[in-house]
Symmetry: C2
Subunit: 320 residues, 2 copies
């Protein structure tokens, strides 16, 4: 047993789901309780986007930390040298895009109002996506999944990324075109990563450029929008968001009570789509390392060279 | 002026929107106040699905009633002989399908819960459409529009119509296959017309065949579901509906308060998509009749022969 490949997982459910893996010892470890004495080939983190808790890991006894999240802000600052960190590309994008469409439709067709007015038969006309122009701001993993889902809704999609380019579906505008594009769209879906350039991107100027009644949907990060600006303009525009600044949003925060604002508690990836996809990533990592290949999806450090020796053991039977 | 084609419309907004029509007199009539003395070539009804008020029309002075609704239950029973009745195919289907997806996503991703729990940051996993099997029950105008919208969501669509057939996308199952299909799906979207066969279709037996946690979405008619059965089973399944039995749903009706039930007040077609589409239908009818063609979309009586003489005047200048 001591020579068997060692994977730690966050809870007993994981042990059951991966029980069929040959040549793998599975033990439960949350990465916060004391580190196992025995070398950990892969440590699957509990599902969190925070970097906290990684700084105490001993690089002599852990090879790869597998995150269940897509974001890894701050991890590079605290992860001890010599440990690899992989993120969860492909696990959350579709589920988050689905929530973006759910929030957009709920806000536009006023499902939130029907819930608040339960008991009243209060019919009135609402907006619809049909014939409208929808800006997808951000064309990475989540943006492309939103695009796929909005395809059938009879709207015109206006795609925007950092730099103007073309793909097989036509032009993707650059963010330098925002001033001319914003007044022409009815909806903006925010699916950009949080960077210096996108922090506070949705400010008073951005919102003022939108036409009356426009809807902004945020499945990016809370700090991409200026919350005070949202609150100021929420009478004129609507805001449906899965992310807030700060997070969690305190119970007494004014954003909760602003008419035209719909908030979900950062649950974009928290759906039934997650488990089979994160399981598949861990299984793939196990297989790669057992075969002597590099682990996949390593994001910290950004380049793998220098780490192969420590992480991709096995293949020739030299695993410990 | 007396020889000009005469169209009545429900309100002054209509008069403005159609003001550019040449050779057409527009007057406001709601079909309930006394009938104009002058012959009405086309009477556009106010937007209602009820048949009430049609029985008093004088067939000597009205040719075609143009409805703004898709449904026309009961119209044939009360409409005087000699008047044609056209429905509004193409006006509401896409908008109604959009609401079906909005209700489905809101229910599945628990947007209704976030609205009720505003102020709480209460994260938990929800269902998702990804990897799920969705039954589309009804493959007419609304069903095909739902299908188009659900295409990008990573679900498997199980299409069901009255009789088994195939189209370019594969098999469409027949309703006789429901007993074997229902236990295999996670979602049912009801988009059937109300007929003798579909009245009470979603009863205890239907609901009991669905797996735990299944969602039923109704954008058909309230009477397609047995409301008492829905209330009985709502702990085990969810129900998101735009239509109820009765309608309007009284404020003290138990359906409003059942956990897992989401109700919108029959607003499938009440969106910004409606006006340009119904305007286009009326413009098309005017053009057809002025050219001496048959009116389009006539649903009562079911066959046109015998009525051409009275309705499709013009073309040779013989309009009155």
């Amino acid at each position: 047993m001591g020579s068997t490949f060692h994977v730690t997982v966050p809870d007993a459910g994981w042990v059951e789901r991966l029980a069929d893996l040959d040549d793998v010892d599975l033990t439960v470890w949350d990465l916060e309780s004391p580190q196992p004495e025995r070398y950990v080939d892969i440590a699957v983190r509990p599902y969190t986007v925070a970097a906290a808790g990684l700084e105490n890991l001993d690089p002599a006894r852990v090879g790869l930390v597998q995150s269940q999240a897509l974001g890894f802000d701050g991890v590079a600052d605290v992860l001890p040298d010599g440990i690899l960190y992989a993120n969860a590309v492909g696990v959350h994008e579709a589920s988050t895009a689905e929530l973006a469409v759910a929030l957009l439709l709920a806000s536009q067709r006023e499902v939130d109002r029907y819930v608040r007015e339960a008991g009243q038969w209060n019919r009135r006309f609402t907006a619809s996506l049909i014939d409208r122009r929808i800006m997808l701001l951000g064309h990475g993993g989540i943006g492309t999944e939103v695009e796929k889902r909005l395809d059938g809704f009879g709207a015109e999609l206006v795609r925007v990324a950092t730099r103007r380019r073309e793909d097989e579906r036509g032009v993707i505008h650059g963010t330098d075109e925002l001033p001319t594009l914003l007044p022409t769209v009815d909806v903006v879906v925010l699916a950009v990563p949080l960077t210096d350039r996108t922090t506070g991107l949705v400010d008073d100027e951005f919102l003022s450029a939108l036409p009356d009644g426009a809807i902004v949907v945020n499945v990016s990060r809370g700090k991409v929008a200026d919350t005070d600006a949202i609150i100021r303009q929420a009478g004129r525009i609507r805001y449906a968001t899965d992310v807030t600044d700060p997070e969690p949003l305190p119970a007494d925060h004014p954003l909760w009570a602003v008419p035209g604002v719909l908030v979900s508690p950062h649950v974009g990836g928290m759906s039934s789509a997650m488990q089979p996809r994160i399981d598949a990533i861990v299984r793939n990592q196990v297989q790669r390392l057992l075969e002597g290949s590099e682990p996949d999806l390593v994001v910290v450090p950004q380049r793998i060279p220098g780490h192969e020796g420590r992480v991709s053991r096995g293949g020739d039977g030299a695993r410990r």
